[in-house]
């Protein structure tokens, strides 16, 4: 599987520049003390990962990989592992930068706040990729893009519509028992989500004909 992970990172090399530019932009914003864009970095990393799917599809990499030993399974697993590695890498860099940058403005750095933001970001990112990857494996990147776009749009409209009728506070209260353990809960549910998503993708890949 290591080989396939290397391949995904090699595919990202063109897009690493985008991440670096964003990082520089982020630092500049941080120094001037204006807005916090740290939240978008992990999301950008997912976008970078998704671009690797386009490269794969263009040369039918998944079909070729299926001719290599254990390639059919490993290219899916590798995709997940590479994504997680990238998210952690980017998040760690953002976190370190956040701490450094906030030390420019204040003496009392709120470490817990920074940590919580990061956990929240990682969870959000993992939620997105866990839904997207099986769709990409099922329909191919081109069609998956459209499906995901429609889904996001649909959820937005539906959500907005439902919010008129439902009291959000009530629902949040349902989760109040998690009050103290929500960090752990988020981490555990991310792992569970990833596992389920990966299993689904593997099933799809196993059945696929190229």
């Amino acid at each position: 599987m290591l080989g396939f992970i290397k391949k995904d990172f090699a595919l990202m090399k063109n897009n690493f520049m985008l991440l670096v530019i964003l990082l520089v932009f982020y630092i500049a914003m941080g120094i001037s003390g204006e807005i916090d864009i740290s939240i978008i970095l992990p999301f950008i990393s997912v976008l970078v990962m998704i671009s690797t799917f386009s490269y794969d599809d263009f040369n039918h990499w998944n079909a070729y990989a299926s001719c290599l030993p254990d390639g059919r399974k490993n290219c899916v697993k590798a995709k997940y592992v590479a994504t997680i590695l990238l998210i952690f890498l980017v998040t760690t860099i953002t976190m370190v930068l956040s701490i450094l940058l906030s030390s420019l403005h204040t003496k009392n750095i709120d470490y817990t706040y920074i940590l919580y933001t990061m956990v929240g970001e990682i969870f959000g990112t993992i939620l997105v990729l866990s839904i997207m990857y099986p769709i990409i494996y099922k329909f191919g990147i081109e069609r998956a893009r459209i499906i995901i776009f429609i889904m996001v749009f649909g959820i937005g409209i539906l959500g907005g519509f439902l919010l008129n009728f439902i009291d959000v506070a009530n629902i949040l209260n349902l989760f109040s028992f998690l009050k103290n353990d929500w960090v752990i809960t988020l981490i555990l549910s991310s792992l569970l989500l990833l596992y389920i998503s990966c299993q689904i993708s593997l099933k799809i890949q196993q059945k696929k004909e190229f």
């Binding site: 039918h60 001719c67 030993p69 190229f210």
Partner: protein, 287 residues
């Protein structure tokens, strides 16, 4: 002699095409040319062998082992070149080397680099900057660099100029210098196969029309050219296909010697694989 590849009654049905009871086998140490028109089922058969499409039924053995039960071990020992399926083209040959080191236990970086030098392929340029011929060569040396026992190649010479084709065919013959190594290669360039192939398997509309040694085909089969009245005298059992042209009949026969004994027709032409293919596909059946 052991068979390195054995296909028995392979079936695969699509809406508008099907492989029907495809059977053939390739003995160890030999090169088999897999010929047929575009769309005859060459690629489908190859994909079924490699389990990148699922067969409906049939038995396939590669290297003497079931292709599904021991898929992983088999794939360690085979090299493939497929039409239009490869590494993403923004990668470089160096990337491929790095990746494959961890994919195959037996990947030979030195050999891979030697091949790159031999074929003047740059190791640090993205594949997308390569010409079609360079790309094909890279695909072929990638398939060779883990010392496989069996090469399965779908149209490996298509798009290559005559010089590159000669280089590639040389590479294949180098490969089988080791007598346990074998090659299955599909091609519609029958001239490639007329030289180096030991066996010819001919597929048309999803069915195997014949699978024999090439020498047998080229020496025994023949094309008889005759007039209408002569044609009428020939027993339909004695020919495989015929084609009526403006001035003559062309008849494909299976055994020149026997035909000569039985009939008094002098013009029996030596046949090429192209002639065979054309008569088999375009000619009328005897009954």
């Amino acid at each position: 002699m052991k068979n390195i590849l054995e296909v028995k009654n392979l079936n695969k049905k699509y809406d508008n095409f099907e492989l029907k009871d495809v059977s053939f086998s390739l003995p160890e140490g030999m090169i088999m040319g897999f010929i047929g028109e575009n769309g005859a089922g060459k690629t489908t058969t190859i994909k079924a062998l490699l389990n990148i499409i699922k067969k409906d039924s049939g038995e396939i053995q590669l290297l003497g082992r079931d292709h599904l039960k021991e898929e992983k071990q088999i794939k360690e020992e085979i090299g493939v070149v497929l039409d239009d399926m490869f590494f993403p083209e923004i990668l470089t040959a160096r990337d491929i080397n790095r990746i494959m080191k961890d994919v195959y236990k037996t990947w030979d970086s030195n050999l891979f680099n030697q091949y790159l030098e031999k074929f003047l392929l740059p190791s640090n340029k993205p594949i997308k900057t390569f010409s079609k011929g360079m790309r094909k060569k890279l695909e072929i040396i990638t398939a060779l660099a883990h010392h496989p026992k069996l090469l399965i190649l779908d149209e490996p010479t298509s798009g290559l100029d005559p010089i590159a084709r000669t280089e590639v065919l040389d590479l294949f013959q180098d490969f089988i210098q080791n007598e346990t190594c074998s090659i299955l290669l599909s091609s519609h360039m029958t001239t490639d196969l007329e030289h180096i192939a030991d066996y010819i398997t001919f597929i048309n509309q999803g069915k195997i029309l014949l699978s024999k040694t090439k020498d047998e085909i080229l020496e025994q089969y023949g094309i008889v050219k005759c007039r209408e009245e002569e044609f009428q005298k020939i027993d339909p059992k004695d020919y495989i296909r015929y084609k009526k042209n403006k001035y003559q009949y062309e008849i494909l026969i299976e055994n020149q010697q026997e035909f000569k004994k039985k009939y008094d027709i002098k013009t029996i032409d030596k046949m090429t694989l192209d002639d065979l293919m054309i008569l088999m596909i375009k000619g009328e059946k005897s009954c």
